[in-house]
Every structure is written in C-alpha cells, then in structure tokens.
Symmetry: C2
Subunit: 332 residues, 2 copies
C-alpha cells in the first residue's frame, strides 16, 4: 500500500497502521504518546497537550458546527488525561471566497463552547488557500491542560474496572451523515458535540479511582474500547443491552447500513473506574451536565488480553473488532 | 467585504483586519494574545503556547520541505516568547491518494528538525479527506515551551533598542516561488527554514536585555517590523544598507517584481536588545548556528509611534508600510 486511502483516516485498524508505519517510524516511540493527550513533565505540574484537525462536512449540522466540534473535541481529549483544560489554540485553513459571516458564526460558536468549557482560546493562525485547494474550511485546535490526577491513561485500566458510558451512542456521526446526504429531514437527530469538563471535573474532584478515560469519536465505541483493551492488556466484557441508543439513531443507522457502535460521538466519554466506586461515579455523572443517561456497560477481565467481548441483546456473544474500512469520511 | 480573499491570508494589513473582525470579535481580547506565542501562567512556571498551519506549495523545495518548515516555524514562535521549546504536536490533513513514501519523507524531515531543535513531537492527529477536498497535504503544528526569561514580547521593545537581524532576507519565499513556477532552475537559491533554538538560547542564557523578538515569516521583515512598532508604540529607524540580501535572491525578486522586504523568511529572527548589550548580542549571534551573517539594522526611537522609517541604499528616507494585497499565497 503506497497511497493514502480514506480508510487510513477512519479511526480504525488502517489508521493505526499508517501512524505506526509513517509517524511512529519517523518520530520514535519515546517522545510520541499514543493517548489522546500527551503528558509533559515540568519541574512543577504536569501539563497535558493535545491536537486535532477538524474537516467535517457539512460545516453546520443539527446540534453543532465545526467550531463547537473543534473546541469540544480538544477539551475532551485533555480531560482524558485527567487534566483541567487551560487554553486552546485555533488554526484555520480557509478556502478563498469563504463567506465571512459564516466564519464569524463559527468563531462565535467556538467562543461560546470555550466559555462553557471554562477555557481560553489563547492563540491562533490563519491561512487562506486559493479556490479549489481546500474544501471551504478546516480547523485544527490544540490544547494544554493542567493534570489534576496523575496516571490516568488508556494504558491504566485494570481487571475488575467497571466501564461507564456517559450517554447514548451514534448521535454525532448519524446527524452529520443525514445532514450531508440531506436525508430524513425532519427527523429529530442531533449531534451530541459538547465539552465534558463539568462531568469529568466532578469525578476528579471527588477523588474517585478513575483509571482510564477515552472519548469515543472516530471509529465509535468499538474503536475506543479496543484501544483501551489493547493498551491496558485486558479483556472488556460489554453488555450491548446497556449501551443507550436513541430510537431515531438506531433507525437511521439501520437504514444507512451503519454499525452504531462504529459511529462517531463528540460528547461522550468511556470511563474506567474501580468496582467499589462504580455506583458513586455513576451517580455523580448522572447528576452532571451531559451525563443523565450514563450507564455501566461492562467490566474489565484479565484475559484474553486485548479483546472486547460483546454480549448481544439477543443473548449471544461475539468479539467486537476494531472497525476497519472507510467508515464515514469527514465526520469530524 | 463578505468573502475571504487571498489577501486575508498574506500576513499583511488585510489579515490583521480579518483577525480583528472575526476572531478577536468572537474570542474577546482578554484571553487571546496577539504575539506569535501565548503565555500561560500556571502557579509554577510560565508556559508558552503557539500554533501554525502550513499549506506551502510545493511540498518539497530547495532547502527544505513542509515538514522542516512546520517544525522550525513552531519552534521559532516559541522562542519569540523567551521560551525553551518542550514539545510539539503535529496534525495532518491528507488528500486521499497521497503517496505514503512522500509522507514518510516528510515525517522523517520533521523528526530530524525536531531533533535539531531538541524538542519532542509528543502528540498528533491524522485526517484523510476525499480526493479534491484538499490539495495533497496540510500540516498544523502546535508547541509548548517553558518561559526562561519572562516579559519578552512584541509589545516590549523600547526607544533606544538596537534591532538585530540574524541573517539574509527573502531566501524562503523566493526559493518556494521559483520552485513552484519552475523558474530559474540551476540558480542557487534555497529556503532558510531552520530552528533557531541554539541562537536564541545562547542569548537568553547570557542574560542579555532582550526586549522583543519576532521571526519575519509571512509578510517578511516589513510586516514584522511594523507589528513591533505598533505593539510597542515606538518608531523604528532601519538602515536598508545593513539588511543582508544574497545576490541571487535580489536578482530573482527583481525579476519577479517582489519587494524582498515583504518576502517570507523561515530561519531568521528580529531581535530588539538594549543599546549597551547590542554588540555583545551580535557577537553571540554570529557565533551561533544560522547567525553568522547577523547585522544591527536599526534603532528604536520614541516617535512617531507605530511607524517604520527606512533609510534607503541611495540615501533617501521612506516610510516602510506593512504589506497589503495578495503577496504570495501558500508560501508557508
């Protein structure tokens, strides 16, 4: 394979291969950290540091826009390192001819989402490329945060941990697909794009034994669970019946031929917590903004390491593989 | 004006207007910092934080490539805040079909430049967009650094300061233009893209009274000098005869109708230092990598504030305005 394929960007198996073959091969694996945020050790506090590019199409969709998505996505990635978000950067690549009122609307949406997340947009960059060199607008946000609870990482989930999912799955990806294809207008399906700082900070300030967190974005819950199982060398036993899916999303995914567990979410978190604290954590999450539908969806077992088992709604068991293939390009 | 124009991305007057009208208007001016790096105050050390998108065309050019450019540009922006670069992020937007060997070459170039700069690439992101949605490859790098000397800012130059330019101007922009237009092949013109950490760290560890630094990238020395004059509310008296320009670059700019003072540099720094330390600083810079051709090119005066005066080679004086218009799209 000597060309980049859409599947290389889909958040699944092929993206992992591309990262290993190209980026880890070049950068080395000491400095580069596979979690969503890198943690930098200063003499004083630890700093979390993350980046994400946003290429979503369309730019505006039910429940959000590229600006809200960019801020929420970066805030949520900082949270996964147990960090309080401090500041964001916002870098724009704009196609010549883009409407300035739309750009202003997107910048306002970013500012509102940043205010909601209690974080400043501290620095930025603006590039304009000639017509045809980019499709309207791409935004890359980076973020720094102060690590409040050290050692939370995708590699730190343990056998016995309970897996909490903070709400329904599939909303973002389904909303964007329907908006892009101009399908099912009138259906009440909206992106869940949201910054989860209140929810995660409530957990961390209660000093609960949270071991790992991951926001299930590209590749959905299927990708995120497989990443944690592999990084932490545990087996995850997931109960499909406990995974909340809204009826509209379920119907739309069926109609579009999508596996809702592979569809991107932008306002959800998977949280791995020690069993004795699971019910307390669940109560805190359900009392937090964006957490009212949270569920304990499974348990971590010691073996077979790196595997995710799904107990289906009809009672059978199957292996939940990491997604592969093209999935949904430009979903975030 | 309700559409984004190429001139909005050129680093001159129009870009400033776009940033004010769209981004500052939305984000507010308390959190957002107009310098190339934001400075974040923690309880412990101060952290510098910066971002830049790179959309250069072509991706490979004499003297460098988009990868070297992305790392050097972000390292140099951190340096302007008096910070030692600690870690970079690298976010890729890749057009479907891009050749993986080229991507590997670019990643290796980034790794080499990062090693040269003593900085880790700590985190990243990869998006792939369908063919035609982006022109081959865009990279956004962000960086964090630890502030070694507090208070260095584009707003802190003072009357009396000497202005040091660390080497010749116009090399990067001219090299990219010639490569893009496939002109003047065989001419020995190469980009100056380079990380200036050794040079700047040598100054800072000698505890010299450096007040402001700026790397003259998009919009060239003309843009950078005008920014500092405006931010610091001083007048800069610049002696054109002292600005080093290589003969090949001078000839190429004349042939292309470019003002070499408006052409982008990617391995140069403008350094504002108290007069009593100027000669010592110049010696240190000339003994540093990438600084052997440094010159004192001018002096800061108290009035007229915000103005840059150029004493030309033929002895006349003129106002050096900030660039405006399209300049050179996709130069960095």
């Amino acid at each position: 394979m000597d060309r980049v394929l859409l599947s290389h960007g889909a958040g699944g198996r092929e993206m992992g291969e591309l990262i290993r073959r190209v980026f880890l091969a070049a950068y080395g694996s000491e400095g580069f950290q596979p979690d969503d945020s890198a943690v930098l050790k200063l003499e004083g506090p630890e700093i979390a540091f993350t980046t994400d590019a946003f290429v979503v199409d369309p730019l505006f969709f039910p429940g959000g826009d590229i600006g809200r998505l960019a801020v929420a996505g970066t805030v949520n990635d900082l949270l996964t390192a147990g960090a309080r978000p401090l500041a964001l950067s916002a870098s724009f690549i704009i196609e010549e001819g883009f409407a300035i009122p739309e750009l202003q609307e997107i910048a306002r949406s970013m500012a509102q989402t940043a205010t909601e997340a209690g974080v400043a947009i501290a620095t930025g960059d603006t590039k304009v490329v000639p017509r045809g060199s980019a499709d309207r607008l791409f935004i890359t946000t980076s973020g720094v945060g102060r690590v409040l609870v050290q050692g939370i990482s995708g590699a730190k989930a343990r056998a016995g941990d309970r897996v909490i999912l903070t709400g329904s799955v599939g909303d973002h990806g389904t909303a964007v697909m329907l908006a892009r294809e101009k399908l099912l207008e009138g259906e009440n399906i909206a992106s869940d794009a949201a910054p989860l700082n209140e929810l995660v900070m409530n957990l961390l300030t209660h000093d609960l034994p949270v071991h790992a967190m991951r926001d299930p974005t590209r590749g959905g819950v299927a990708a995120a669970l497989n990443e944690i199982a592999r990084q932490s060398q545990i087996c995850l036993e997931i109960d499909e019946a406990m995974i909340p899916v809204s009826p509209g999303v379920e119907a739309a995914c069926e109609a579009l031929g999508l596996d809702v567990l592979q569809v991107a979410n932008e306002g959800k978190m998977l949280i791995f917590v020690a069993p004795e604290a699971a019910e307390t954590a669940l109560t805190i999450i359900r009392n937090s903004r964006y957490g009212q539908d949270a569920q304990i969806i499974g348990t971590a077992q010691p073996t077979p390491a790196g595997r995710v088992h799904l107990r289906t709604q009809i009672g059978t068991a199957r292996i939940l593989n990491p997604p592969s293939g093209e999935l949904l390009p430009r979903i975030c």
